[in-house]
Amino acid sequence: MSLLEPPVGDGDRVLGPAAAPITLVEYGDFQCPYCREAEPVLEELLAEYGDGIRFVFRNFPLEDAHPQALPAAEPAELASRYDRFWEAHDLLFEYQDELSPELYARICESLGLPLREFDAAVRNGFDRDRIEADLESGPRSGVNGTPTFFVNGARVDGGIRAVPQALAFAAE
């Protein structure tokens, strides 16, 4: 069985209470259409489980297939410094068809992120530590495509369609 490695920790992007009995982790790629398709389903599931679930997003940009996947992950990491990761995450999926440096600048601007910091990051390279940590943990955890989901540390096979059942099982 493929298990999440490392477990969810301090550096992760977490939505929901730390003490929630169920943890759902997604390894995702901002340019992946399957990840985008999963978004409305995830939204419903998170609403359904309320405080009973915490959701974690880890990056797994398939750079070879999706040239904008890594560039798109970078402004999201910048946004996380200002506790606005999830807003950036949602905007990136909403505007997936327009992924580009122009979009990233617009997103940073609309989230009120300091443009000077964004420009500096573009020039010097974004803070990639989290992205690279995720990229290393992905294969080790048994990520087998995008999106790959883990419920309480165990990989779910079958994509987003299999997640509701996996969550129901975990909730028993």
Binding site: S2, E5, F60, L62, E63, D64, A65, L135, E136, G138, P139, R140, S141, G142, V143, N144, G145, T146, T148, R155, D157
Partner: protein
Amino acid sequence: MEATCDQGSDLTEDSAVEHVLDAGVDAPDLTLRATPDQSLSLREVRGCPVVLVFYPADWSAICSDELSIFSAALPLLRKHDAVLLGISVDSAWSHQAFAQEHGLHFDLLSDFESKGAVSRAYGGYDPAAGTSRRALFVIDRDSKIAWRELSPVALNPGADGVLEALDALPADGGAG
């Protein structure tokens, strides 16, 4: 060619596992086309760990995912000096187009002539489907099979088993 990943087979998954070569045996040598003009032999990379990814076919959705995952894991494989090779019965031309389309940065070998010979040698050929099964092998520096895993054709196994197997290889490459 029309091979799909989920064609049925006379062999059950259990009996197929019995046919796959076990850890501890010598890895059969192989010489296959890596491009329309060049061949690659396993003995050329002796001294490095080798990861063989047998898969049913180019151009099917699950296979793309599996190879993309391995391609993304290349930096981790390189830390072990491991050579990554994908093998299916597709022609070298199909491999070339497929690798280019998906931006794969490792060799895909063509088990085309004679068809499936290397897959058979490793015990991973599905004669009913006419394709290789989905099998992973880690070969150590002395060309012995260190680890192997057969997966159901519909399931992408991911790279975690391979990475754990590479971690477990002795650093000096000795047979123990």
